[in-house]
Protein backbone atom coordinates (compact mmCIF):
# COMPACT_ATOMS: atom_id res chain seq x y z
CA UNK A 1 0.00 0.00 0.00
CA UNK A 2 1.25 3.47 -0.86
CA UNK A 3 1.85 5.80 2.03
CA UNK A 4 -0.83 8.45 1.53
CA UNK A 5 1.54 11.18 2.75
CA UNK A 6 3.34 10.86 -0.60
CA UNK A 7 0.23 11.25 -2.73
CA UNK A 8 0.96 14.90 -3.70
CA UNK A 9 4.20 13.95 -5.41
CA UNK A 10 2.99 10.60 -6.75
CA UNK A 11 0.22 12.45 -8.50
CA UNK A 12 2.87 14.06 -10.70
CA UNK A 13 5.46 11.29 -10.75
CA UNK A 14 3.15 8.46 -11.84
CA UNK A 15 2.02 10.03 -15.12
CA UNK A 16 5.53 11.42 -15.67
CA UNK A 17 7.04 7.92 -15.41
CA UNK A 18 4.25 6.37 -17.45
CA UNK A 19 5.13 8.56 -20.45
CA UNK A 20 8.60 7.07 -21.17
CA UNK A 21 7.22 3.65 -20.24
CA UNK A 22 4.67 3.94 -23.04
CA UNK A 23 7.39 4.99 -25.48
CA UNK A 24 9.42 1.90 -24.49
CA UNK A 25 6.46 -0.47 -24.83
CA UNK A 26 5.42 1.16 -28.13
CA UNK A 27 2.20 -0.84 -28.55
CA UNK A 28 -0.88 1.30 -29.00
CA UNK A 29 -3.07 -1.01 -26.88
CA UNK A 30 -0.52 -1.22 -24.04
CA UNK A 31 0.06 2.53 -24.27
CA UNK A 32 -3.63 3.15 -23.96
CA UNK A 33 -3.93 0.82 -20.97
CA UNK A 34 -1.05 2.57 -19.18
CA UNK A 35 -2.52 6.01 -19.91
CA UNK A 36 -5.91 4.93 -18.56
CA UNK A 37 -4.28 3.45 -15.46
CA UNK A 38 -2.28 6.66 -14.86
CA UNK A 39 -5.40 8.82 -15.28
CA UNK A 40 -7.49 6.65 -12.95
CA UNK A 41 -4.69 6.71 -10.38
CA UNK A 42 -4.60 10.50 -10.74
CA UNK A 43 -8.35 10.72 -10.09
CA UNK A 44 -8.16 8.43 -7.04
CA UNK A 45 -5.22 10.32 -5.59
CA UNK A 46 -6.87 13.70 -6.19
CA UNK A 47 -10.04 12.62 -4.39
CA UNK A 48 -7.97 11.27 -1.48
CA UNK A 49 -6.08 14.59 -1.33
CA UNK A 50 -9.28 16.65 -1.43
CA UNK A 51 -10.73 14.63 1.46
CA UNK A 52 -7.49 14.98 3.41
CA UNK A 53 -7.46 18.76 2.83
CA UNK A 54 -11.07 19.09 3.92
CA UNK A 55 -10.31 17.04 7.04
CA UNK A 56 -6.92 18.36 8.11
CA UNK A 57 -6.32 21.61 6.23
CA UNK A 58 -3.36 22.60 4.06
CA UNK A 59 -0.99 19.81 3.00
CA UNK A 60 2.66 20.75 2.64
CA UNK A 61 5.02 18.25 1.02
CA UNK A 62 8.76 18.86 0.87
CA UNK A 63 10.29 17.31 -2.24
CA UNK A 64 13.30 15.17 -1.34
CA UNK A 65 12.75 16.20 2.31
CA UNK A 66 14.38 19.58 1.64
CA UNK A 67 12.31 21.92 3.79
CA UNK A 68 10.73 25.00 2.21
CA UNK A 69 11.73 27.66 1.30
CA UNK A 70 15.04 26.04 0.23
CA UNK A 71 13.56 22.98 -1.34
CA UNK A 72 10.60 22.76 -3.66
CA UNK A 73 7.38 22.56 -1.76
CA UNK A 74 4.09 21.09 -2.93
CA UNK A 75 1.37 22.92 -1.12
CA UNK A 76 -2.25 21.94 -1.46
CA UNK A 77 -5.18 23.84 0.00
CA UNK A 78 -8.89 23.76 -0.76
CA UNK A 79 -8.40 25.66 -4.04
CA UNK A 80 -5.88 23.44 -5.79
CA UNK A 81 -7.33 20.25 -4.30
CA UNK A 82 -10.57 21.11 -6.10
CA UNK A 83 -8.65 21.78 -9.34
CA UNK A 84 -6.93 18.40 -9.00
CA UNK A 85 -10.28 16.63 -8.81
CA UNK A 86 -11.49 18.39 -11.98
CA UNK A 87 -8.23 17.44 -13.69
CA UNK A 88 -8.40 13.82 -12.55
CA UNK A 89 -12.07 13.44 -13.38
CA UNK A 90 -11.72 14.78 -16.92
CA UNK A 91 -8.48 12.87 -17.57
CA UNK A 92 -9.94 9.59 -16.31
CA UNK A 93 -12.95 9.96 -18.59
CA UNK A 94 -11.10 11.21 -21.69
CA UNK A 95 -8.41 8.50 -21.55
CA UNK A 96 -10.83 5.58 -22.16
CA UNK A 97 -12.56 7.69 -24.81
CA UNK A 98 -9.27 8.29 -26.62
CA UNK A 99 -8.95 4.65 -27.75
CA UNK A 100 -11.68 4.74 -30.39
CA UNK A 101 -11.33 8.43 -31.19
CA UNK A 102 -7.58 8.34 -31.76
CA UNK A 103 -7.90 5.39 -34.14
CA UNK A 104 -9.68 7.57 -36.70
CA UNK A 105 -7.99 10.91 -36.01
CA UNK A 106 -4.31 10.09 -35.50
CA UNK A 107 -2.06 8.18 -37.93
CA UNK A 108 -1.57 4.64 -36.67
CA UNK A 109 2.21 4.82 -36.19
CA UNK A 110 1.78 7.74 -33.79
CA UNK A 111 -0.71 6.16 -31.38
CA UNK A 112 1.83 5.27 -28.72
CA UNK A 113 3.23 8.81 -28.90
CA UNK A 114 -0.25 10.16 -28.37
CA UNK A 115 -0.66 8.22 -25.12
CA UNK A 116 2.83 9.11 -23.92
CA UNK A 117 2.14 12.80 -24.50
CA UNK A 118 -1.25 12.48 -22.88
CA UNK A 119 0.50 11.32 -19.71
CA UNK A 120 3.07 14.13 -19.98
CA UNK A 121 0.34 16.74 -20.38
CA UNK A 122 -1.45 15.32 -17.36
CA UNK A 123 1.76 15.32 -15.29
CA UNK A 124 2.45 18.93 -16.30
CA UNK A 125 -1.04 20.16 -15.50
CA UNK A 126 -1.03 18.28 -12.20
CA UNK A 127 2.39 19.72 -11.36
CA UNK A 128 1.25 23.29 -12.03
CA UNK A 129 -1.67 22.71 -9.72
CA UNK A 130 0.15 21.22 -6.74
CA UNK A 131 3.42 23.13 -6.74
CA UNK A 132 4.12 25.93 -4.29
CA UNK A 133 7.27 27.05 -6.07
CA UNK A 134 7.18 29.77 -8.70
CA UNK A 135 9.93 28.42 -10.95
CA UNK A 136 8.74 24.84 -10.62
CA UNK A 137 5.39 26.14 -11.80
CA UNK A 138 7.02 27.49 -14.98
CA UNK A 139 8.76 24.18 -15.66
CA UNK A 140 5.52 22.21 -15.30
CA UNK A 141 3.76 24.79 -17.43
CA UNK A 142 6.27 24.15 -20.20
CA UNK A 143 6.00 20.36 -19.79
CA UNK A 144 2.25 20.51 -20.26
CA UNK A 145 2.48 23.10 -23.03
CA UNK A 146 5.13 21.26 -25.07
CA UNK A 147 3.08 18.06 -24.73
CA UNK A 148 -0.08 19.81 -25.86
CA UNK A 149 1.61 21.43 -28.89
CA UNK A 150 2.56 17.95 -30.09
CA UNK A 151 -0.83 16.47 -29.19
CA UNK A 152 -2.50 19.11 -31.37
CA UNK A 153 -0.09 18.52 -34.24
CA UNK A 154 -0.76 14.75 -34.20
CA UNK A 155 -4.07 15.19 -36.03
CA UNK A 156 -4.23 13.97 -39.64
CA UNK A 157 -5.39 17.38 -40.84
CA UNK A 158 -2.49 19.58 -42.02
CA UNK A 159 -4.16 22.63 -40.49
CA UNK A 160 -3.43 21.09 -37.09
CA UNK A 161 0.27 21.78 -37.78
CA UNK A 162 -0.38 25.46 -38.31
CA UNK A 163 -2.59 25.63 -35.22
CA UNK A 164 0.10 23.90 -33.15
CA UNK A 165 2.78 26.28 -34.50
CA UNK A 166 0.66 29.31 -33.67
CA UNK A 167 -0.05 27.95 -30.20
CA UNK A 168 3.67 27.28 -29.72
CA UNK A 169 4.61 30.86 -30.56
CA UNK A 170 1.94 32.48 -28.40
CA UNK A 171 2.24 29.92 -25.61
CA UNK A 172 6.00 30.47 -25.41
CA UNK A 173 5.55 34.24 -25.32
CA UNK A 174 3.05 33.74 -22.49
CA UNK A 175 5.37 31.40 -20.58
CA UNK A 176 8.31 33.79 -21.04
CA UNK A 177 6.24 36.66 -19.65
CA UNK A 178 5.52 34.47 -16.65
CA UNK A 179 9.25 33.81 -16.17
CA UNK A 180 9.95 37.54 -16.37
CA UNK A 181 7.32 38.14 -13.69
CA UNK A 182 8.74 35.39 -11.50
CA UNK A 183 12.26 36.76 -12.08
CA UNK A 184 11.25 40.24 -10.94
CA UNK A 185 9.64 38.78 -7.83
CA UNK A 186 12.79 36.77 -7.19
CA UNK A 187 14.93 39.91 -7.54
CA UNK A 188 12.82 41.68 -4.96
CA UNK A 189 12.43 38.89 -2.42
CA UNK A 190 15.27 36.42 -3.01
CA UNK A 191 12.96 33.44 -2.82
CA UNK A 192 10.89 31.36 -5.19
CA UNK A 193 8.50 29.74 -2.74
CA UNK A 194 5.11 31.33 -3.34
CA UNK A 195 4.16 31.51 0.34
CA UNK A 196 7.61 32.84 1.21
CA UNK A 197 7.41 35.49 -1.55
CA UNK A 198 4.08 36.62 -0.09
CA UNK A 199 5.52 37.10 3.40
CA UNK A 200 8.76 38.71 2.23
CA UNK A 201 7.06 41.14 -0.14
CA UNK A 202 6.14 43.13 2.99
CA UNK A 203 7.25 46.73 2.51
CA UNK A 204 8.16 46.45 -1.15
CA UNK A 205 4.67 45.12 -1.93
CA UNK A 206 3.85 48.19 -3.99
CA UNK A 207 7.26 49.04 -5.37
CA UNK A 208 7.58 49.36 -9.11
CA UNK A 209 9.34 46.07 -9.88
CA UNK A 210 6.65 44.17 -7.98
CA UNK A 211 3.88 45.95 -9.84
CA UNK A 212 5.73 45.26 -13.10
CA UNK A 213 5.91 41.59 -12.07
CA UNK A 214 2.17 41.66 -11.49
CA UNK A 215 1.64 43.09 -14.98
CA UNK A 216 3.95 40.55 -16.65
CA UNK A 217 2.34 37.66 -14.80
CA UNK A 218 -1.15 38.87 -15.65
CA UNK A 219 -0.40 39.13 -19.37
CA UNK A 220 1.51 35.84 -19.47
CA UNK A 221 -1.08 33.84 -17.59
CA UNK A 222 -3.92 35.46 -19.53
CA UNK A 223 -2.26 34.31 -22.74
CA UNK A 224 -2.20 30.74 -21.47
CA UNK A 225 -5.75 31.05 -20.16
CA UNK A 226 -6.96 32.50 -23.50
CA UNK A 227 -8.49 35.52 -21.83
CA UNK A 228 -9.90 37.85 -24.49
CA UNK A 229 -8.14 39.46 -26.46
CA UNK A 230 -5.24 37.01 -25.97
CA UNK A 231 -7.27 34.04 -27.20
CA UNK A 232 -6.09 34.01 -30.83
CA UNK A 233 -4.39 30.63 -30.51
CA UNK A 234 -7.35 28.84 -29.00
CA UNK A 235 -9.96 28.44 -31.77
CA UNK A 236 -7.47 26.93 -34.24
CA UNK A 237 -5.88 24.71 -31.64
CA UNK A 238 -9.16 23.27 -30.37
CA UNK A 239 -10.76 23.00 -33.79
CA UNK A 240 -7.95 21.06 -35.45
CA UNK A 241 -6.64 18.98 -32.56
CA UNK A 242 -7.76 15.35 -32.25
CA UNK A 243 -11.11 15.44 -30.40
CA UNK A 244 -9.78 13.70 -27.29
CA UNK A 245 -7.12 16.43 -27.05
CA UNK A 246 -9.69 19.20 -27.56
CA UNK A 247 -11.77 17.69 -24.76
CA UNK A 248 -8.83 17.38 -22.38
CA UNK A 249 -7.39 20.84 -23.11
CA UNK A 250 -10.73 22.67 -23.18
CA UNK A 251 -11.72 21.13 -19.87
CA UNK A 252 -8.43 21.52 -18.04
CA UNK A 253 -5.56 23.50 -19.63
CA UNK A 254 -7.12 26.96 -19.67
CA UNK A 255 -8.74 26.26 -16.28
CA UNK A 256 -5.39 25.44 -14.70
CA UNK A 257 -4.06 28.75 -16.03
CA UNK A 258 -6.95 30.59 -14.43
CA UNK A 259 -6.11 28.80 -11.19
CA UNK A 260 -2.51 30.08 -11.48
CA UNK A 261 -3.86 33.60 -11.93
CA UNK A 262 -5.98 33.20 -8.79
CA UNK A 263 -3.00 31.85 -6.87
CA UNK A 264 -0.78 34.81 -7.80
CA UNK A 265 -3.51 37.39 -7.25
CA UNK A 266 -4.82 36.22 -3.92
CA UNK A 267 -2.02 34.20 -2.31
CA UNK A 268 1.09 36.09 -3.48
CA UNK A 269 0.29 39.72 -4.25
CA UNK A 270 -2.77 39.98 -2.03
CA UNK A 271 -6.05 41.68 -2.80
CA UNK A 272 -4.95 45.19 -1.78
CA UNK A 273 -2.11 45.27 -4.31
CA UNK A 274 -4.06 43.67 -7.11
CA UNK A 275 -7.44 45.31 -6.73
CA UNK A 276 -6.72 48.56 -4.87
CA UNK A 277 -3.22 49.71 -5.83
CA UNK A 278 -3.57 48.33 -9.37
CA UNK A 279 -6.86 48.42 -11.27
CA UNK A 280 -6.74 44.70 -12.10
CA UNK A 281 -10.38 44.24 -11.06
CA UNK A 282 -11.54 46.82 -13.59
CA UNK A 283 -9.26 45.46 -16.31
CA UNK A 284 -10.51 41.90 -15.76
CA UNK A 285 -14.09 43.11 -15.58
CA UNK A 286 -13.86 44.99 -18.89
CA UNK A 287 -12.10 42.13 -20.68
CA UNK A 288 -14.54 39.57 -19.26
CA UNK A 289 -17.54 41.50 -20.50
CA UNK A 290 -16.04 41.93 -23.96
CA UNK A 291 -15.14 38.22 -24.01
CA UNK A 292 -18.64 37.17 -23.02
CA UNK A 293 -20.26 39.25 -25.73
CA UNK A 294 -17.76 39.29 -28.62
CA UNK A 295 -16.64 35.66 -28.39
CA UNK A 296 -20.25 34.49 -28.13
CA UNK A 297 -21.12 36.46 -31.26
CA UNK A 298 -18.03 35.08 -32.99
CA UNK A 299 -19.16 31.56 -32.02
CA UNK A 300 -22.48 32.21 -33.73
CA UNK A 301 -20.75 32.92 -37.05
CA UNK A 302 -18.59 29.77 -37.17
CA UNK A 303 -19.24 27.15 -39.82
CA UNK A 304 -17.55 24.34 -37.89
CA UNK A 305 -18.93 22.79 -34.72
CA UNK A 306 -15.57 22.39 -32.97
CA UNK A 307 -14.61 25.97 -33.82
CA UNK A 308 -17.98 27.13 -32.52
CA UNK A 309 -17.35 25.30 -29.25
CA UNK A 310 -13.85 26.80 -29.08
CA UNK A 311 -15.16 30.38 -29.35
CA UNK A 312 -17.77 29.50 -26.77
CA UNK A 313 -14.87 28.45 -24.49
CA UNK A 314 -13.34 31.93 -24.86
CA UNK A 315 -16.67 33.41 -23.80
CA UNK A 316 -16.93 31.05 -20.84
CA UNK A 317 -13.42 31.99 -19.66
CA UNK A 318 -14.90 35.49 -19.54
CA UNK A 319 -17.51 34.30 -17.02
CA UNK A 320 -14.81 32.80 -14.82
CA UNK A 321 -12.66 35.93 -14.82
CA UNK A 322 -15.79 38.02 -14.27
CA UNK A 323 -16.28 36.17 -10.99
CA UNK A 324 -12.63 36.80 -10.11
CA UNK A 325 -12.87 40.52 -10.89
CA UNK A 326 -15.39 41.07 -8.10
CA UNK A 327 -12.83 39.76 -5.55
CA UNK A 328 -15.75 38.87 -3.28
CA UNK A 329 -16.59 35.50 -1.73
CA UNK A 330 -19.68 35.09 -3.90
CA UNK A 331 -17.93 36.15 -7.09
CA UNK A 332 -14.96 33.91 -6.48
CA UNK A 333 -17.20 30.97 -5.59
CA UNK A 334 -19.14 31.57 -8.80
CA UNK A 335 -15.94 31.80 -10.85
CA UNK A 336 -14.43 28.65 -9.36
CA UNK A 337 -17.60 26.60 -9.59
CA UNK A 338 -17.98 27.77 -13.20
CA UNK A 339 -14.43 26.64 -13.81
CA UNK A 340 -15.47 23.13 -12.77
CA UNK A 341 -18.93 23.13 -14.36
CA UNK A 342 -17.77 24.53 -17.65
CA UNK A 343 -14.81 22.15 -17.74
CA UNK A 344 -17.13 19.17 -17.38
CA UNK A 345 -19.71 20.49 -19.85
CA UNK A 346 -17.25 21.56 -22.54
CA UNK A 347 -15.30 18.32 -22.16
CA UNK A 348 -18.52 16.38 -22.84
CA UNK A 349 -19.36 18.58 -25.84
CA UNK A 350 -15.94 18.12 -27.46
CA UNK A 351 -16.20 14.36 -26.91
CA UNK A 352 -19.59 14.31 -28.63
CA UNK A 353 -18.17 16.42 -31.46
CA UNK A 354 -15.47 13.73 -31.68
CA UNK A 355 -18.20 11.11 -32.02
CA UNK A 356 -19.49 13.02 -35.04
CA UNK A 357 -15.96 13.10 -36.47
CA UNK A 358 -15.79 9.33 -35.92
CA UNK A 359 -18.83 8.75 -38.17
CA UNK A 360 -18.97 11.79 -40.46
CA UNK A 361 -15.25 12.56 -40.69
CA UNK A 362 -15.88 16.28 -40.26
CA UNK A 363 -17.49 18.79 -37.92
CA UNK A 364 -18.56 21.25 -40.61
CA UNK A 365 -22.09 22.33 -39.76
CA UNK A 366 -23.26 22.31 -43.38
CA UNK A 367 -22.46 18.60 -43.63
CA UNK A 368 -24.56 17.75 -40.56
CA UNK A 369 -27.98 18.32 -42.13
CA UNK A 370 -30.52 16.00 -40.51
CA UNK A 371 -27.86 14.33 -38.40
CA UNK A 372 -30.27 13.88 -35.47
CA UNK A 373 -32.14 11.13 -37.39
CA UNK A 374 -29.10 8.92 -37.78
CA UNK A 375 -27.20 9.85 -34.60
CA UNK A 376 -30.00 10.67 -32.13
CA UNK A 377 -28.06 10.01 -28.91
CA UNK A 378 -25.03 12.10 -29.93
CA UNK A 379 -27.17 15.01 -31.06
CA UNK A 380 -29.38 14.88 -27.97
CA UNK A 381 -26.20 14.91 -25.87
CA UNK A 382 -24.93 18.01 -27.67
CA UNK A 383 -28.27 19.72 -27.03
CA UNK A 384 -28.08 18.88 -23.31
CA UNK A 385 -24.48 20.16 -23.19
CA UNK A 386 -25.58 23.25 -25.11
CA UNK A 387 -28.29 23.89 -22.52
CA UNK A 388 -25.49 23.73 -19.95
CA UNK A 389 -23.55 26.41 -21.88
CA UNK A 390 -26.65 28.59 -21.96
CA UNK A 391 -27.21 28.03 -18.24
CA UNK A 392 -30.72 26.58 -18.29
CA UNK A 393 -31.95 25.68 -14.77
CA UNK A 394 -31.21 22.04 -14.02
CA UNK A 395 -27.75 22.16 -15.61
CA UNK A 396 -24.48 22.94 -13.89
CA UNK A 397 -24.13 26.10 -16.01
CA UNK A 398 -27.17 27.56 -14.28
CA UNK A 399 -25.67 27.18 -10.79
CA UNK A 400 -22.49 29.04 -11.65
CA UNK A 401 -24.21 31.79 -13.62
CA UNK A 402 -26.66 32.22 -10.73
CA UNK A 403 -23.71 32.88 -8.44
CA UNK A 404 -22.14 35.30 -10.90
CA UNK A 405 -25.37 37.27 -11.17
CA UNK A 406 -25.66 37.25 -7.37
CA UNK A 407 -22.10 38.54 -7.07
CA UNK A 408 -22.83 41.31 -9.58
CA UNK A 409 -25.93 42.37 -7.66
CA UNK A 410 -23.98 42.19 -4.40
CA UNK A 411 -21.44 44.59 -5.91
CA UNK A 412 -24.32 46.84 -6.93
CA UNK A 413 -23.59 46.31 -10.62
CA UNK A 414 -26.99 45.61 -12.13
CA UNK A 415 -25.68 46.32 -15.59
CA UNK A 416 -23.21 43.46 -15.31
CA UNK A 417 -25.91 41.08 -14.12
CA UNK A 418 -27.81 42.09 -17.24
CA UNK A 419 -24.75 41.42 -19.46
CA UNK A 420 -24.41 37.89 -18.02
CA UNK A 421 -28.02 37.19 -18.97
CA UNK A 422 -27.64 38.86 -22.37
CA UNK A 423 -24.59 36.82 -23.29
CA UNK A 424 -26.50 33.69 -22.28
CA UNK A 425 -29.07 34.72 -24.86
CA UNK A 426 -26.33 34.80 -27.50
CA UNK A 427 -25.42 31.29 -26.32
CA UNK A 428 -28.99 30.26 -27.13
CA UNK A 429 -28.40 31.56 -30.65
CA UNK A 430 -25.18 29.64 -31.26
CA UNK A 431 -26.48 26.42 -29.76
CA UNK A 432 -29.56 26.85 -31.92
CA UNK A 433 -27.38 26.85 -35.04
CA UNK A 434 -26.48 23.22 -34.36
CA UNK A 435 -30.08 22.32 -33.43
CA UNK A 436 -31.40 23.90 -36.61
CA UNK A 437 -28.96 22.02 -38.83
CA UNK A 438 -29.18 18.66 -37.08
CA UNK A 439 -32.88 18.54 -36.31
CA UNK A 440 -34.74 20.70 -38.82
CA UNK A 441 -32.97 20.08 -42.10
CA UNK A 442 -33.70 17.18 -44.38
CA UNK A 443 -30.99 14.52 -44.06
CA UNK A 444 -28.50 14.50 -46.91
CA UNK A 445 -27.45 11.19 -48.56
CA UNK A 446 -24.30 11.35 -46.53
CA UNK A 447 -25.88 11.79 -43.09
CA UNK A 448 -28.78 9.35 -43.63
CA UNK A 449 -26.30 6.51 -44.20
CA UNK A 450 -24.55 7.10 -40.86
CA UNK A 451 -24.99 4.93 -37.77
CA UNK A 452 -25.06 6.06 -34.15
CA UNK A 453 -21.60 6.45 -32.60
CA UNK A 454 -20.01 3.49 -30.79
CA UNK A 455 -20.55 2.98 -27.06
CA UNK A 456 -16.79 3.33 -26.51
CA UNK A 457 -17.21 7.02 -27.35
CA UNK A 458 -20.71 7.68 -26.09
CA UNK A 459 -20.31 6.18 -22.61
CA UNK A 460 -17.36 8.41 -21.52
CA UNK A 461 -19.03 11.48 -23.03
CA UNK A 462 -22.24 10.46 -21.28
CA UNK A 463 -20.47 10.26 -17.92
CA UNK A 464 -19.22 13.86 -18.20
CA UNK A 465 -22.62 15.00 -19.47
CA UNK A 466 -24.40 13.22 -16.62
CA UNK A 467 -22.00 14.93 -14.20
CA UNK A 468 -22.84 18.33 -15.69
CA UNK A 469 -26.55 17.67 -15.12
CA UNK A 470 -26.02 16.05 -11.73
CA UNK A 471 -24.02 19.03 -10.44
CA UNK A 472 -26.83 21.25 -11.73
CA UNK A 473 -29.49 19.39 -9.79
CA UNK A 474 -27.40 18.66 -6.68
CA UNK A 475 -24.92 21.54 -6.56
CA UNK A 476 -24.05 21.19 -2.85
CA UNK A 477 -20.90 19.11 -3.50
CA UNK A 478 -19.26 21.42 -6.05
CA UNK A 479 -20.51 24.59 -4.39
CA UNK A 480 -19.16 23.44 -1.04
CA UNK A 481 -15.74 22.71 -2.53
CA UNK A 482 -15.75 25.97 -4.53
CA UNK A 483 -16.71 28.16 -1.59
CA UNK A 484 -14.02 26.41 0.46
CA UNK A 485 -11.57 27.23 -2.33
CA UNK A 486 -12.75 30.84 -2.44
CA UNK A 487 -12.35 31.14 1.33
CA UNK A 488 -8.85 29.69 1.16
CA UNK A 489 -7.90 32.19 -1.55
CA UNK A 490 -9.49 35.19 0.13
CA UNK A 491 -7.73 34.33 3.38
CA UNK A 492 -4.70 35.82 1.63
CA UNK A 493 -1.11 34.57 1.73
CA UNK A 494 -0.88 31.05 3.14
Amino acid sequence: MIDSAHLPVLQVVVPLVCAPLIVLVRGSRAGWAIAVAASVFFLGASIAILMEVQRAGVISYAIGSWPAPWGIEYRIDAANAFMLVLLGFVAAVVAPYAWASVRVEVPRENHYLFYALYCLALAGLGGITVTGDAFNLFVFLEISSLASYVLIALDRDRRALLAAYQYLILGTIGATFIVIGVGLLYLMTGTLNLADIATRLGDVRQSRPVLAALAFLTVGISLKAALFPLHMWLPGAYAHAPSAVSALLAATATKVSVYVLLRFYFSVFGTTTVFTAMPMGDVLLALSIVAMIVASIAAFFQSDLKRLLAYSSVAQIGYITLGVSFASATGLTGGIVHLFNHGVTKGALFMLAGTIVFRLGSTRLDRMAGLARSMPITCAGIVVGGLGLIGVPGTAGFVSKWYLVLAAIEAGAWGIAFVVVASSMIAVAYVWRFVEVAYFRAPSDETSRLKEGPAALLVPAGILLAASVYFGLVPSLTLGAASGAAEALLAGPR
Binding site: F135, F138, V139, E142, L146, Y149, V150, A153, R158, R159, L161, L162, A164, Y165, L168, I169, T172, I173, T176, V179, I180, G183, Y186, L187, L192, R364
Partner: protein, 123 residues
Protein backbone atom coordinates in the same frame (compact mmCIF):
# COMPACT_ATOMS: atom_id res chain seq x y z
CA UNK B 1 26.44 56.42 -13.99
CA UNK B 2 22.95 55.16 -13.40
CA UNK B 3 22.38 54.46 -17.08
CA UNK B 4 25.70 52.61 -17.32
CA UNK B 5 25.09 50.82 -14.04
CA UNK B 6 21.95 49.39 -15.50
CA UNK B 7 23.75 48.30 -18.66
CA UNK B 8 22.63 44.68 -18.38
CA UNK B 9 19.01 45.77 -18.03
CA UNK B 10 19.28 47.92 -21.17
CA UNK B 11 20.60 44.94 -23.08
CA UNK B 12 17.83 42.78 -21.64
CA UNK B 13 15.14 45.19 -22.71
CA UNK B 14 16.68 45.63 -26.16
CA UNK B 15 16.82 41.87 -26.75
CA UNK B 16 13.32 41.41 -25.37
CA UNK B 17 11.76 44.02 -27.62
CA UNK B 18 13.84 43.03 -30.66
CA UNK B 19 12.83 39.40 -30.24
CA UNK B 20 9.16 40.18 -29.86
CA UNK B 21 9.33 42.52 -32.85
CA UNK B 22 10.77 39.77 -35.04
CA UNK B 23 8.07 37.33 -33.92
CA UNK B 24 5.34 39.81 -34.80
CA UNK B 25 6.75 41.47 -37.90
CA UNK B 26 8.26 38.54 -39.82
CA UNK B 27 6.16 36.27 -42.00
CA UNK B 28 8.78 33.55 -42.31
CA UNK B 29 8.09 30.76 -39.84
CA UNK B 30 11.79 30.03 -39.22
CA UNK B 31 12.58 33.72 -38.63
CA UNK B 32 9.70 33.90 -36.18
CA UNK B 33 11.32 31.09 -34.19
CA UNK B 34 14.66 32.90 -34.23
CA UNK B 35 12.90 35.97 -32.85
CA UNK B 36 11.29 33.82 -30.18
CA UNK B 37 14.70 32.49 -29.18
CA UNK B 38 16.15 36.00 -28.87
CA UNK B 39 13.13 36.94 -26.77
CA UNK B 40 13.72 34.01 -24.44
CA UNK B 41 17.45 34.72 -24.26
CA UNK B 42 16.78 38.21 -22.92
CA UNK B 43 15.20 36.60 -19.86
CA UNK B 44 18.34 34.56 -19.19
CA UNK B 45 20.22 37.82 -18.84
CA UNK B 46 17.52 39.29 -16.62
CA UNK B 47 18.05 36.45 -14.16
CA UNK B 48 21.81 36.00 -14.31
CA UNK B 49 23.10 39.59 -14.25
CA UNK B 50 21.74 40.48 -10.78
CA UNK B 51 23.14 37.23 -9.34
CA UNK B 52 26.72 38.39 -9.97
CA UNK B 53 28.34 40.57 -7.31
CA UNK B 54 31.40 42.57 -8.29
CA UNK B 55 34.31 40.86 -6.55
CA UNK B 56 32.16 37.92 -5.58
CA UNK B 57 33.39 34.38 -6.12
CA UNK B 58 31.80 31.00 -6.59
CA UNK B 59 29.85 30.05 -3.45
CA UNK B 60 32.45 27.69 -1.99
CA UNK B 61 33.48 28.33 1.59
CA UNK B 62 37.16 29.32 1.76
CA UNK B 63 39.44 31.37 3.92
CA UNK B 64 39.53 35.07 3.28
CA UNK B 65 36.46 35.08 1.05
CA UNK B 66 33.49 37.09 2.21
CA UNK B 67 31.58 37.97 -0.96
CA UNK B 68 29.82 35.25 -2.91
CA UNK B 69 27.80 35.40 -6.10
CA UNK B 70 24.36 33.84 -5.99
CA UNK B 71 24.43 30.49 -7.82
CA UNK B 72 20.69 29.92 -7.87
CA UNK B 73 19.89 32.11 -10.94
CA UNK B 74 22.42 30.13 -12.97
CA UNK B 75 20.72 26.89 -12.04
CA UNK B 76 17.30 28.28 -12.85
CA UNK B 77 18.46 29.56 -16.20
CA UNK B 78 20.10 26.22 -16.99
CA UNK B 79 16.61 24.80 -16.71
CA UNK B 80 15.14 27.64 -18.76
CA UNK B 81 17.75 27.06 -21.48
CA UNK B 82 16.77 23.41 -21.69
CA UNK B 83 13.12 24.40 -21.96
CA UNK B 84 14.01 26.99 -24.60
CA UNK B 85 15.92 24.44 -26.67
CA UNK B 86 13.05 21.96 -26.42
CA UNK B 87 10.64 24.65 -27.60
CA UNK B 88 12.90 25.68 -30.48
CA UNK B 89 13.43 22.07 -31.55
CA UNK B 90 9.72 21.35 -31.46
CA UNK B 91 8.97 24.57 -33.33
CA UNK B 92 11.49 23.73 -36.07
CA UNK B 93 10.10 20.19 -36.30
CA UNK B 94 6.65 21.67 -36.82
CA UNK B 95 8.04 23.98 -39.51
CA UNK B 96 9.54 20.97 -41.31
CA UNK B 97 6.16 19.23 -41.25
CA UNK B 98 4.42 22.43 -42.41
CA UNK B 99 6.92 22.73 -45.26
CA UNK B 100 6.22 19.10 -46.24
CA UNK B 101 2.46 19.59 -46.40
CA UNK B 102 2.20 23.17 -47.67
CA UNK B 103 5.42 23.47 -49.66
CA UNK B 104 6.30 26.80 -48.04
CA UNK B 105 7.47 28.39 -44.81
CA UNK B 106 6.06 31.83 -45.63
CA UNK B 107 3.01 32.68 -43.59
CA UNK B 108 1.17 34.55 -46.36
CA UNK B 109 1.66 31.76 -48.91
CA UNK B 110 0.40 29.17 -46.42
CA UNK B 111 -2.66 31.24 -45.60
CA UNK B 112 -3.36 31.65 -49.32
CA UNK B 113 -3.12 27.87 -49.81
CA UNK B 114 -5.45 27.45 -46.85
CA UNK B 115 -8.03 29.85 -48.27
CA UNK B 116 -7.89 28.12 -51.63
CA UNK B 117 -8.46 24.76 -49.90
CA UNK B 118 -11.45 26.22 -48.03
CA UNK B 119 -12.95 27.47 -51.32
CA UNK B 120 -12.53 24.03 -52.89
CA UNK B 121 -14.20 22.42 -49.91
CA UNK B 122 -17.16 24.80 -50.11
CA UNK B 123 -17.85 24.15 -53.79
Amino acid sequence: MSALGHFSYWVTIFLLVAGLFIVIARGNLVKKLIGLSIFQTSVYLLYIAPGKLIGGTAPIVGTGITVYSNPLPHVLILTAIVVGIATLALGLALVVRIRESYGSVEEDEILRAEEAALRDEAT
